[in-house]
């Protein structure tokens, strides 16, 4: 699904299904939602294009978002992987023991 698009010289992000908001209104909480979508869903974005994006402020925001979310696509599971390392062996130990008891 597409979450970032360029239309009429402006950048938009999809807040709820089919609700497109201009990028100058995007805040950190919206970004958190987008990040979750990017990890879990099929996350699509319009290519960044200076010519199509006339609004200078939108250019700045769109360019950064596009770069960062693009990078993320290469390694979607990084947050999960990194946090799961924390108690990995302990969780495995207790779960395995429980299964074997059953």
């Amino acid at each position: 699904m597409k979450y970032l698009k360029i239309e009429d010289g402006k950048g938009f992000f999809q807040k709820n299904t089919d609700q497109w908001i201009e990028l100058d209104h995007i805040g950190k909480e919206d970004l958190l939602v987008l990040l979750d979508k990017a990890i879990a869903d099929d996350f699509e974005m319009d290519e960044y294009n200076t010519e199509l994006l006339g609004n200078k402020a939108h250019q700045i925001i769109y360019k950064q978002l596009f770069q960062k979310f693009n990078e993320l696509q290469q390694n979607k599971s990084r947050f999960k992987d990194e946090s799961e390392q924390l108690y990995k062996s302990a969780i495995e130990k207790y779960i395995v023991t429980k299964n074997s008891e059953n």
């Binding site: 805040g27 970004l31 990040l35 990194e82 946090s83 302990a90 207790y94």
Partner: protein
């Protein structure tokens, strides 16, 4: 029974010894005088074959080739058969080449590579003697190591009694020079008939076959080179004035290391004020554990609070508020960049869930504890605990994942903000972490409360030591000089002391003193002082201070290998000696050799010694000759090494009771008084 000394130095090593001139005649004198059956030449990291051959030819007893090796920062004696000496020399040369500085040592692997078959040698590590060979290294060299060198009779006896210790051996570790006057009587007796390396090795596998004395097993050890023995327990030296008692004690102190010698009159006060100050300082040093324990938590608080920069926080808030006011005033001037929500967006603050971490640790403890397993299982099924642990850990993962995501967004937002800000002249409101500032303010508030409370003067610990009581109390510092004394450095505290009652400002003032490390600041808020009270609760007098000192010194003699006490009766009264001192001395003599010189019957007889020595001066042809008789307290006669005898009863009465007649007269006087 054979007497062996397998640790002898005859040549200075360039990196381990100071230079000395070896005297072969002195070595010969030593071996003959002390009737030693077998020695080993063990120089540091070298073996001089030529010199070894010279020694072997000169001496009649067995001389074994050996080397003392620096290995893994410890020392190891490696002793060989008296055969294949060229091969042994080659191997030792390899060790010598590897040790090229004071800090060099070889590894266990290198030792094995060089000497290949270690079973051919006798390996004796420094065991309870410095520099010790670490237990894990000894473990790696098993089964080739069965015995270990110790440095004193006390340690020898400890190893004999401790089932897990190696078989102990005592060796002299002497360097023989022409100037030597006394020889160390540190040798070991072993129960064998011949002095071959094979026989010695077999013997050193069995604790029942090693002794400190040729005929008295482990209860006695040889103290002087002439064969004079002492009990490993309590020895009393009696004798008239100027008969050589103190001389004997001094000789022991000179011959042995790690000796605690309480000298005559040493504990008696001479200058009351000076002695009291010295005593108080000593008490403070000795008891500093109490102060550390009391201030432990406060120290942590101070170390945490010291990091807070109160002024910087105030400044940040000021900048933030000014920024907000400015933005509000220029609202209509906002451009396309500054209108963006992200322009002034604040950062996500990381969740630090310590409680969750503690819960996980606690649950793991409940799962893994063995000691109280049944008790825990009775109330909470094991599988429920495991499920709880997994749930808590997963929750923790969730929190951490959220933190990681928020950190990712913070960095993204920061990049966008930077670019937006560089495109506009409009003022950006600097982000501020209110949470941390509030938390730090709260910390400061609590610190102020604790620092004020801690200055309330009170008793923090009382400890009974025999009839005395050590009392530790807190007290406020009363002036800048006291703070200066506390610091031990030349720096003025007058400005700081003016703020003593405002903990936060006081701490900020301390922070300005560069010479005081931050970890020491906690010491300047309250002082801990100590005093000793007698059984009546009164501060102790000068005499009582001496009594306390004596008991304290005897108690602390545990760290030493010998305890020597010279005429304790010179400083104390009989009741104190009988009730307090005797019991402690007997107690400590169970773990180490104790030697007391006395004239006093309370000490000499009532203490029930294990062994008695009697010194006597005789003038023969105008020349004084000092004789030393000894024996068990129940022996009718005391004997010198040469077999001269003297009546034990006469000695006891003469030395302790001023003779037979005086004893009977005194007894009669007491009877009259009693009736």
């Amino acid at each position: 029974m054979k007497k062996i000394d397998l640790h002898i130095h005859t040549k200075a090593s360039p990196y381990s010894d100071s230079v000395y001139d070896f005297s072969i005649s002195k070595l010969q004198e030593y071996v003959e005088k002390l009737s030693i059956d077998c020695i080993a030449i063990t120089n540091h990291n070298l073996f001089d074959l030529e010199q070894f051959n010279q020694i072997s030819e000169r001496l009649e007893n067995t001389v074994l080739p050996g080397i003392e090796i620096d290995i893994e920062k410890g020392h190891l004696l490696l002793i060989s058969e008296n055969t294949e000496l060229d091969d042994f020399k080659n191997k030792c040369n390899q060790v010598e080449n590897l040790i090229q500085s004071k800090s060099d040592y070889i590894s266990v692997q290198q030792l094995k590579d060089i000497f290949t078959d270690l079973s051919k040698y006798l390996l004796v590590p420094h065991y309870d003697k410095n520099p010790i060979l670490r237990p894990e290294i000894i473990e790696q060299l098993k089964p080739f190591i069965t015995s270990g060198e110790v440095s004193s009779a006390k340690k020898f006896q400890y190893c004999i009694n401790d089932t897990n210790s190696l078989v102990p051996v005592l060796f002299s570790d002497l360097r023989f020079t022409q100037q030597m006057t006394d020889f160390s009587p540190r040798q070991t007796f072993i129960d064998i008939d011949d002095t071959s390396l094979r026989a010695i090795k077999t013997c050193l596998m069995d604790k029942n076959k090693v002794f400190m004395h040729h005929s008295d097993g482990h209860r006695f050890f040889q103290i002087f080179e002439n064969g004079q023995k002492l009990s490993t327990g309590l020895n009393v030296i009696l004798g008239e004035r100027s008969s050589g008692k103190t001389y004997t004690l001094k000789k022991i102190a000179r011959l042995y290391e790690n000796v605690k010698h309480i000298k005559q009159f040493e504990l008696l006060e001479t200058d009351e004020e000076k002695d009291k100050k010295k005593f108080d300082d000593l008490l403070t040093t000795k008891q500093c554990g109490v102060s550390e324990q009391f201030l432990k938590e406060f120290k942590e608080v101070v170390e945490d609070v010291v990091k807070i920069d109160r002024k910087k926080n105030e400044k940040r808030i000021e900048i933030y508020i000014n920024g907000l006011l400015k933005v509000a005033a220029e609202e209509e001037k906002k451009d396309v960049y500054s209108k963006c929500t992200l322009f002034n967006e604040s950062k996500f603050i990381e969740t630090k869930d310590e409680t969750l971490k503690q819960l996980i640790t606690a649950t793991q403890l409940l799962i893994e504890n063995i000691q109280y397993r049944t008790l825990i299982d009775n109330r909470i099924p094991h599988e429920i605990l495991k499920e709880l642990a997994v749930d808590l850990m997963k929750k923790y993962e969730e929190v951490q994942q959220k933190n990681l995501k928020e950190r990712w967004i913070n960095s993204l937002v920061a990049n966008i903000q930077k670019e937006l800000q560089s495109s506009t002249a409009f003022e950006h409101v600097e982000d501020i972490d209110f949470y941390t500032i509030l938390l730090e303010n709260e910390k400061l508030r609590k610190f102020e409360k604790i620092a004020t409370q801690i200055k309330t003067e009170k008793i923090i610990e009382q400890r009974e030591v025999r009839r005395f009581k050590i009392v530790a109390s807190t007290r406020r510092f009363t002036g800048a000089q006291e703070l200066k004394n506390k610091s031990g450095i030349q720096t003025a505290f007058s400005d700081a002391f003016l703020l003593y009652d405002s903990p936060i400002e006081f701490l900020e003032e301390l922070k300005k003193k560069e010479r005081i490390p931050g970890t020491e600041f906690f010491k300047y808020f309250v002082d801990v002082s100590y005093k000793i009270l007698n059984e009546h609760g009164a501060e102790i007098s000068g005499g009582e201070r001496s009594e306390f000192n004596l008991l304290d010194r005897i108690q602390h003699a545990h760290h030493y290998d010998f305890l020597l006490i010279d005429e304790p009766e010179s400083s104390f009264d009989n009741l104190f000696l009988k009730n307090e001192v005797n019991e402690q001395i007997r107690q400590i003599s169970k773990t180490m050799p104790v030697i007391i010189v006395t004239h006093n019957n309370t000490v000499g007889a009532s203490i029930k010694p294990d062994y008695i020595l009697y010194t006597k001066k005789e003038i023969v042809d105008s020349i004084p000759i000092y004789k030393l008789y000894s024996g068990n307290p129940s022996d009718p006669k005391l004997k010198t090494i040469d077999g001269e005898e003297i009546s034990n009863y006469d000695i006891m009465l003469n030395c302790l009771e001023a003779g037979d007649i005086a004893y009977i007269e005194r007894k009669q006087s007491y009877e009259i008084l009693k009736n």
